[in-house]
Amino acid sequence: MAEEFVILIREPEWDPASATEADWTDMMKAHGAFAQAVAAAGGQVVGGDALQPTSQAVRVTPARNERPAVYTDGPFTELKEVVSGFYKISVKDAAEARELAALVPTGGWVELYPVMKTDPS
């Protein structure tokens, strides 16, 4: 029975524009190695992407109490860590997920969330 997890990659800063070719290649190698490790464990990388830095992001506060929605453009300098990317994986169990999550490349850390099952089975 496969279990699904979402991994959020958190880093103190994330500036893809300043990455050199060598940086980029190393990064892609590390991500590729993670994908290989998941495969070697018989699991699947169901999804995942790198995100653009917060300078490209927008904070959206939904409308409430008759006030309209509020949009605040990034960067969000008050944040100490940003989410630079994520993965969704399908693996055998939580123990395997923990082991694999340690292989995700990051300048900070990753957060591992089990996905909430909503189907009746």
Partner: protein, 413 residues
Amino acid sequence: MTDLDITFRREWPRILSSVVRFAGDLQRAEDAVQEAFARAAATPPGSLHNPASWITTTAKRIVVDDQRRQSAFVRNLGRLAADAAERHDAAQLHESRTADSIDDDRLELLFMVSHPSLTEESRLALALRAVCGVSTAEIATLFFLKEATMAARLTRAKQRIQSAGIRLQRPDAADRAERLDDVLSLIYLLYTTGHTAAAADGIGAVTTTQAAIALGRSVVALVPRHLEARGVLALMLLTQARSAGRVDTAGNVIDLESADRSVWDTALSEEGIELATIALAGRGRFALEAGISGLHSQAARWEDTDWVAIASLYDALARTWPSPGVQLGRVVARSYLPDVGPAQALIELDAHSLPPGRRIDGQLAAVRGDLLRRSERWREAVAEYRHAIDCEANGAVRAFLRGRISSMEQGPR
């Protein structure tokens, strides 16, 4: 082979692409280059210091002369001049080219030929002709057609590009981005064409596989951050690394299980595995195929093959690229998993519905035959292998399948 013949084979793509850029028309360029070669052959031997350059210049003169002879002279000359000005060529016949590598020229031809209105087969035929210099007769053999039919198809394909009103010019960044995936597929198609031909009758096979790999390297240099480009190169290198052990001295096909791994090219393997690792970050089709290939290359012996990882990559591949080949490969990989096995894999295989087609029927029969053989259902296995032989055109593969039958008839292991 005269020096001119050697020049012809080697320089053809570079000369052609230069003239195509000048003329904006693949057919006209090809005719002009052919004519220029003929004129070069008529000069006293050794009189041309730089035949390639002479032929290029002469071909361009022929293009302009041709235009003059037609009633559309003014319009075409205006167009040529306008484009030349655009390209800062200043309408000179003596174009002083900087040393563009031959691979960049060939890559450019591939982009030109990856035209949306052409079928994949037409693009492959044009690419073999214009980029690898394969003769029409050889291409016809590869496509199982008569030479005249092949020539007609090539002409029609070129006309289709022309009638679509598309000028064959250096594709701009937008065109390149749009056509990149098609170009990658085309490069891989070139490689597999050459690779398969080697097992059959070696039709300029080495040139084609080497050209494909060189083009793969050029694409990676062109778009270094494109992960699938590395995936294609990785896949080709890994396949190439194992090519030494594929065929024995008598020309018989050797399967992966029995291959002598000591003759595999470790340098190519390592490079391929490194590229595949990077490409896998994107989880694209070529990256996944390269990953599978890399896993085979990494196993020191057949018994050390990491089938769990291979099956997992096949699962991912089947989700995004469920071609019949992938579905079959996945079932075979799963048959080696300890908790599946050949008998269970056979049940899974029969639950799939594959599209009809002689080649697929043949491959399906061969896979069923293999699974039945490993399940020790000898009579049924022989029947399937016989059916596979009927569907298979490649002589070496047929011989291999016949060998499987005789090894079973000699007595089960």
